[in-house]
């Protein structure tokens, strides 16, 4: 048997094939993660015509340009508020933000914690390649300690964010972390994230051979995946605060949080526009609000592994 020549791929209906090949470097993990996303979408039967992808700026941010659905490539750091505005205006559409670690957690860090706090009904896929790929591999808020980047040439002295912990504590409804090697589990997790009503967040550790790997003894994309293979420990429902990543040490991947669904931000914004809500007393309105509040005390018990029940 030899390889059979083909001109179309099973995911082509979700891709702007006229724009392929994409801009990503050989062996970059972004394409792999985008593939997992599209497979998850297909698996759950999410209608691409009713789905929007919003990206910020960066290598990952280019993803929006390759998906065959309405897509927006916005400004650096502002994909989330753009998406929050869009989703609030059009709750009938599925909205995903697909962007990089720098975009979402450095310049856009404020927005993502607020979107999680509000429980905006969007899905965020964050590609954590430990660096700013697009601009040539500078220090990111996710660069591991000792990591060499063009702006930490002597090794990173800062401590990185634990993205999963940060977002879980901020109030997300679903939080998971995988790597570009854990493609099957990532796909399953994305299915859940997309179906979840509320703020869902999936971090994907991914290789950037060109800008990060090259400087950190992982020149070949395979090297980073081997690193993931060696150190990633699959565990579900670990306290996300234990999701700290240290260089050359085991780190947790898995589903950190899958909270019971609660009313979303958009549910509440739209409730305000209803006559039944507006034309009652303030006491009744307050009652409705309390009835539909998020149970952060329950959430924090789930997060800390003390269970969700009273």
């Amino acid at each position: 048997m030899s390889i059979i020549k083909a001109d179309t791929h099973p995911l082509d209906r979700y891709l702007r094939t006229e724009r392929l090949p994409h801009v990503w470097c050989p062996g970059c993990g972004i394409g792999t993660v985008l593939g997992a996303y599209l497979r998850a979408m297909e698996k759950i039967g999410m209608d691409p015509e009713k789905s929007i992808m919003v990206s910020g700026i960066g290598c990952t941010g280019r993803a929006a340009g390759y998906v065959r659905m309405d897509s927006f490539h916005t400004t650096h750091g502002r994909a989330i508020p753009f998406a929050v505005g869009l989703k609030a205006a059009r709750p009938d559409l599925n909205v995903t933000v697909f962007s990089g670690d720098g975009d979402l957690f450095a310049i856009g860090g404020n927005h993502i914690i607020h979107a999680a706090r509000r429980n905006a009904n969007i899905t965020v896929v964050a590609i954590n390649n430990f660096t700013y790929g697009m601009t040539g591999g500078q220090l990111a808020p996710t660069t591991p300690e000792t990591g060499i980047t063009t702006t930490s040439p002597y090794g990173n002295v800062e401590s990185p964010f634990n993205l999963a912990g940060l977002i879980a504590v901020a109030g997300a409804s679903y939080v998971a972390r995988w790597t570009s090697l854990h493609v099957r589990r990532l796909e399953k997790s994305l299915e859940k994230a997309l179906k979840k009503r509320g703020f869902s967040f999936v971090e994907v550790l991914s290789q950037c051979p060109t800008a990060y790997g090259r400087r950190n003894r992982m020149r070949d994309p395979v090297d980073t995946l081997k690193y993931f293979q060696k150190y990633a420990v699959v565990k579900n429902h670990v306290n996300p605060l234990e999701g700290v990543i240290e260089p050359n040490k085991p780190f947790v991947v898995g589903e950190f949080l899958d909270a019971p669904e609660e009313p979303t931000f958009e549910d509440k914004l739209w409730e305000l526009t209803k006559a039944e809500f507006l034309h009652t007393s303030q006491a009744e309105r307050s009652e409705w609000i309390i009835e539909h509040r998020r149970h952060l005390e329950v959430l924090s018990r789930i997060i800390s592994g003390k269970g969700g029940e009273e």
């Binding site: 048997m1 390889i3 090949p21 062996g27 792999t32 593939g35 493609v183 070949d220 994309p221």
Partner: protein, 93 residues
């Protein structure tokens, strides 16, 4: 849960044959990154000598029946960042 290797054993013992896959490639999409090759559990993919339009070496298939054959696990398809390689289940003639 069954791991891949004990699935194989179970299948063998029950007299069922392993699933078989046929591998497809959109050659000019490949950037020769080698991820499919490095992570194929059956090691049936290798770097070829030929160049595609963009000057990359796409993978080729080196099946050696009966053991080293594509088992349609789909990993190459999933790991490929370029939407270049994919597999379909091989139907017995």
């Amino acid at each position: 849960m069954a791991t891949e290797s004990n699935t194989e054993k179970l299948l063998e013992r029950s007299g069922l044959s392993l699933p078989r896959g046929e591998v497809y490639l959109i050659e000019d999409r490949c950037k020769g990154c080698g991820l499919c090759i490095a992570f194929c559990p059956k090691h049936v993919l290798v770097v070829s000598d030929k160049f595609n339009k963009k000057g990359y070496h796409p993978p080729e298939l080196v099946e050696e029946e009966p053991v080293n054959v594509c088992i349609n696990c789909g990993f190459c398809e999933r790991i490929c960042p370029e939407f270049a390689i994919f597999v379909k289940e091989k139907k017995e003639e």
